[in-house]
């Protein structure tokens, strides 16, 4: 996925435009702080114009002790995001988040400060709405608050599924009789790195009973794929990071011939060998498909029977895991096999990252003044 640093015009937020007075002294930020990649949107309070739209790999790189002068840009000691990935051979890379929550607060703060530098802050007050996994606990929220102290003036944390539901909705079309409002009656599936979340969105924010979250997602299938490859090639010295690269290029479910062969160059007995790991990648992806199907089935079982038919016509899949080739069709096939009538699964696609950030910006525009949490110090 490519980051986009250009300035973008207004999004789908007309209904929200009168919520707050126009002030150019407050910058509103919507942030999807992802384990792998973060998406940020910013606009001035009271306006609909998006001033910043960025996708940044959530990674911080610390320069190795032995790096020679002139190698890193400006002889930097720390690089963040794409620059960190570009110079990874001279850096110790740290991912501040694990499973969607902050794992290294210092690296997270460095990342957040770098992110703020991308915003047109000037002397403005900066307020951010930040998505957090629904499964995150109080400690995770406290850590996130600590990480953005001194970065943003005011913050609000909101569960990611809420933000995604808000982000995916196009308020400008609500009066169009042909517009199918995606949040009136839908099943929303988010497959991230650390967790898979499935929730019912039926016109209201999902409550505890409307959600299922399991810590089984992209990272877990990387491990399955790695285990399978190691079972066959025990000396291959393959790392999880390399497996993830292979998976992201060659992931598949449903039809093996529909994908490009997953050929990995692996060191076996000290020599590079090209191995076909298509089947192993497929096995990991299939496990995720099966888990997602089971969660969907369970949640459908909890829904009001009168709503089920419509619910199944609106199954929305998002998150990096949804990019597995054939995932939507395969999930739909499984639902049909289960006996559900005419299910329709829609995969949001490559720009799935935009929805949570867009939802966060909508929340920032609508939050009451006294709801913002002020970060002191």
């Amino acid at each position: 996925m490519k980051a986009n640093s250009s300035k973008h015009a207004a999004g789908n937020t007309a209904v929200l435009e009168n919520a707050q007075p126009q002030t150019t002294d407050t910058l509103l930020v919507g942030l999807d702080w992802g384990t792998n990649i973060s998406s940020v949107l910013a606009s001035l309070r009271g306006t609909n114009e998006t001033l910043t739209k960025e996708l940044i790999p959530t990674v911080v790189g610390y320069a190795n002790d032995d790096v020679l002068p002139g190698v890193l840009p400006g002889d930097a000691k720390i690089l963040v995001g794409r620059m960190a990935l570009k110079h990874k051979s001279n850096l110790k890379l740290v991912r501040p988040l694990q499973g969607g929550v902050i794992h290294d607060t210092e690296a997270a703060k460095t990342f957040a400060l770098n992110l703020r530098d991308l915003l047109p802050t000037g002397s403005r007050e900066v307020r951010a709405v930040i998505g957090m996994p629904a499964s995150s606990d109080l400690v995770a929220r406290e850590n996130a608050r600590n990480a953005v102290r001194g970065v943003f003036h005011k913050v609000l944390f909101v569960p990611e599924p809420f933000l995604a539901a808000l982000g995916v909705r196009n308020e400008t079309q609500l009066n169009d009789p042909d517009y199918q409002d995606p949040v009136l009656n839908s099943i929303y599936i988010d497959i991230g790195a650390g967790s898979t979340d499935v929730c019912l969105v039926q016109g209201h924010y999902p409550t505890v009973d409307d959600q299922l979250s399991v810590p089984f997602a992209g990272d877990a299938i990387d491990q399955i794929i790695l285990d399978r490859i190691l079972a066959e090639y025990p000396e291959s010295g393959l790392t999880l990071a390399r497996v993830r690269e292979i998976k992201e290029r060659h992931s598949w479910v449903l039809a093996e011939d529909g994908t490009t062969r997953a050929i990995a160059t692996i060191m076996v007995g000290g020599k590079p060998r090209k191995l076909d790991v298509t089947a192993q990648v497929g096995a990991g992806c299939e496990a995720l498909l099966q888990k997602t199907f089971e969660m969907t089935r369970e949640l459908v079982g909890r829904a009001n029977p009168d709503t089920v038919a419509e619910l199944l016509r609106n199954v929305i899949v998002t998150g990096g895991g949804s990019l597995i080739k054939g995932f939507g069709v395969a999930l739909q096939a499984k639902l049909i096999e289960e006996g559900f009538e005419s299910p329709q699964v829609r995969v949001l696609g490559d720009n799935y990252k935009d929805y949570v950030a867009a939802g966060a910006l909508k929340v920032a525009r609508m939050a009451r003044e006294n709801q913002w949490q002020t970060l002191l110090g």
């Binding site: 996994p133 629904a134 109080l138 016109g203 409550t207």
Partner: protein
Amino acid sequence: MPVAPCTSVLPDRTTELWSTIERSVAEACLLRAEGRAPEAITIVQQTLPALIAEWSRRSGMSSEHCQRTLRELFARVQQQVSTATICKRLVLQSIASGDAAQETTPERFQIQRRVPLHDIPAMLDALDEGERTAQFRRQNFPSRAVRFSPAMALG
């Protein structure tokens, strides 16, 4: 509320004695309910007899009347203590099961009530309520609360 016999006509010292007897009886019953029988026996055998003797003398009531009044007091206090003991057990049970649930889904970031999607401020209020409840639980029942990992603390 238990009422001292002939309160209106009793002189002050007698009222005072009756209050002390009531407190001592309640304490003895509570100690027994908590399994601290020796301490309860000490009150019944050492503290109460002298108090009761003086109160009987001063009350001006017949010894039969005094005994009946004392029996009623004991019965009433025992009833109160056993009700309180059941309540205490139920509260402790509910805290324990609440904590067990919390351990499986520790302070998740969710809302308990339905809020329409268009009402963003109401959603934020509902989240805030959940946050406050979780914080209250953590502050008041810290031993069962989610442990804070030093590795996660601000560096």
